[in-house]
């Protein structure tokens, strides 16, 4: 799951870069030519792409955890299989994206270690709790849905290996989204308890999905290197609006109520009121929505969200537990035992 919303910091201008090469590089990007690992690129571009691909890879790996915790409790063979395969896909996405990052100059070991040491970040949305099966349905519907929207635009980017990886990943994300949609539909067609479970989970995840696309864009975002060099294709606010236009009416059709919620420090909803802004503007065709709590967003990004410690501790534990296997594997490539 999970696109890399906003890991791209505004970069310093390309001081010290050869102006002629820089001009050619920007010309190629303007012509829609893909940049490949062996090509000349400004150092700021290489670092920016690395930061972006690494952040995205980290998000896939940490993103496997909230849903992974529900594999043992999935309520049917079909759901258990689909959820296991889904989480497995996310690990595969992480693997592919670490490969893209490796080519930009950082080893996988270093990236996995920096992740568990808290030196690098992953997507904010995985720092929220998933206390019920309804949350698993919501993650696959809303968060995978948001990830597809973001990643489809990233597939129009300029860096060849990242673009090709996005295209591969997006096919699988489409399955995740379909499965999420099917889960939500099944639950909303079910019993009172199932519907309530789904509404409660929707209340927990709606604002998180709005935050998924990152904070409001700074003025002049389109002229910053991230967009000029097509690392980032679409502005956060326009992606967010597209998401609301797609999901607000879909949620209402399913019988879900779009609420503005207050949450406690554990990410649990303490009070709700219906979002009166969530209506379609006939003039623009856009659906309105109440802006999520951006103070909360920055609090969680700084490490003080409901599940930051829990997610990171589990990943670190698994990394440490697996150390001996990686060391044993380093003794040689895998071979089959001598025939009996």
């Amino acid at each position: 799951m999970s696109g890399a919303a906003n890991p791209v910091q505004p970069m310093c201008p390309c001081e010290g870069e050869d102006p002629e090469k820089l001009a050619q590089f920007e010309q190629r990007i303007a012509e829609g030519v893909h940049i490949e690992p062996g090509d000349w690129m400004p150092e700021a571009y290489r670092q920016g792409m690395l930061r972006m691909a690494e952040h995205h890879a980290n998000s896939e790996i940490i993103g496997a955890l909230p849903e992974g915790e529900w594999i043992t409790r999935a309520p049917s063979l079909r759901r258990k299989l689909a959820l296991t395969a889904k989480v497995q896909d996310e690990v595969g996405h992480g693997q592919m994206l670490y490969r893209v990052s490796q080519e930009l100059g950082k080893s996988r070991d270093d990236m996995l270690r920096d992740l568990v040491m808290g030196k690098t970040k992953y997507h904010n949305c995985f720092n929220y709790p998933a206390p019920t099966w309804g949350d698993i349905a919501m993650i696959q519907w809303l968060i995978d849905g948001a990830a597809i929207m973001n990643q489809k635009t990233l597939a129009d980017g300029a860096y060849g290996p990242y673009v090709r990886t996005m295209n591969r990943i997006n096919m699988e994300e489409a399955f995740h989204f379909k499965s999420g949609e099917d889960m939500v539909l099944t639950l909303m067609s079910g019993t009172k308890l199932q519907k309530q479970m789904t509404q409660d989970a929707f209340d927990r995840w709606w604002a998180v999905s709005l935050m998924f696309f990152g904070p409001h864009d700074k003025p002049g975002a389109e002229t910053m290197p991230a967009m000029r060099w097509r690392m980032k294709i679409e502005k956060n606010d326009s992606l967010r609006q597209r998401f609301v236009n797609r999901f607000a009416p879909a949620a209402k059709d399913l019988g879900l109520i779009i609420n503005v919620c207050a949450k406690d420090e554990h990410g649990y909803v303490t009070s709700v009121r219906e979002d009166e802004q969530c209506v379609r503007d006939e003039a623009t065709g856009n659906w309105g929505f109440t802006d999520p709590d951006w103070d909360e967003f920055f609090r969680v990004i700084r490490g003080n969200g409901p599940c930051n410690a829990h997610r990171l501790n589990l990943r670190r534990f698994s990394h440490e537990q697996g150390d001996w296997v990686r060391r044993a594997g380093a003794h040689g490539t895998i071979t089959t035992p001598p025939a009996a």
Binding site: A85, R327, T336, P337
Partner: protein
Amino acid sequence: MPLRDDVMALADDKLMSGHMQSDWTGLGPILEEDIAASAMAQDDLSHAQVLYEWLGGDPDATAFGRQAQAYRCCDLVTLPDEFDWAIATARRFMCAHFATVLLQDFAQSDDADLVDRAARLLKEQAIQTTHLNAWIFRLGTGGTDAHARMQHAFDTLSPYVGGLFETIDQAADRFDRWRAAVDPVLQSAALKIDVTGPESTTCGGRSGQHAEHFILQQAEMTQVRSLEPDAAW
């Protein structure tokens, strides 16, 4: 009916080993092996489903809707691995070879439908055993620390191996075939198992006398479904 009983025993083993191993998805020691092990866990869950279908009734009701005593898996498959890859790998290796022995016999049975199903499953089963054989060799020969961890895992699991064969038809013969499959691999990695023969008593999981750890796993597995047992999920 020994054949039906054996199919149920293997189907429940497959369900619970798929359940235990799928829990590792996203937490494996190496990304590539995380993915491969998860694929095998999914195979195990699918194999359970294929065998439940042959037994008749709704596979989900069989998998999730029974009382704990009605399950016929052995205690080896649900023994907690405490997040130890050595235990998880050693267990999968022993269970995969046991499954192969039974599936080979199912593929020779008089029931055409079962023959067909077993033949299909055997193909995926062969991929599992090849992969696991290679990993037992790799870890057993992967240095002193790795070897010690693997030997410790086999020492921990050995007392439960007899339970694989509890209530199983032709246990002695099948036990011999199982040893013939696992021994060369273990020897190649200088690993030992201390197992003398199939369990003659019937006092374990296959008779429905489950260990506490199975009861806990089964409760977790059925937790969501039992909120609304008759609803679609």
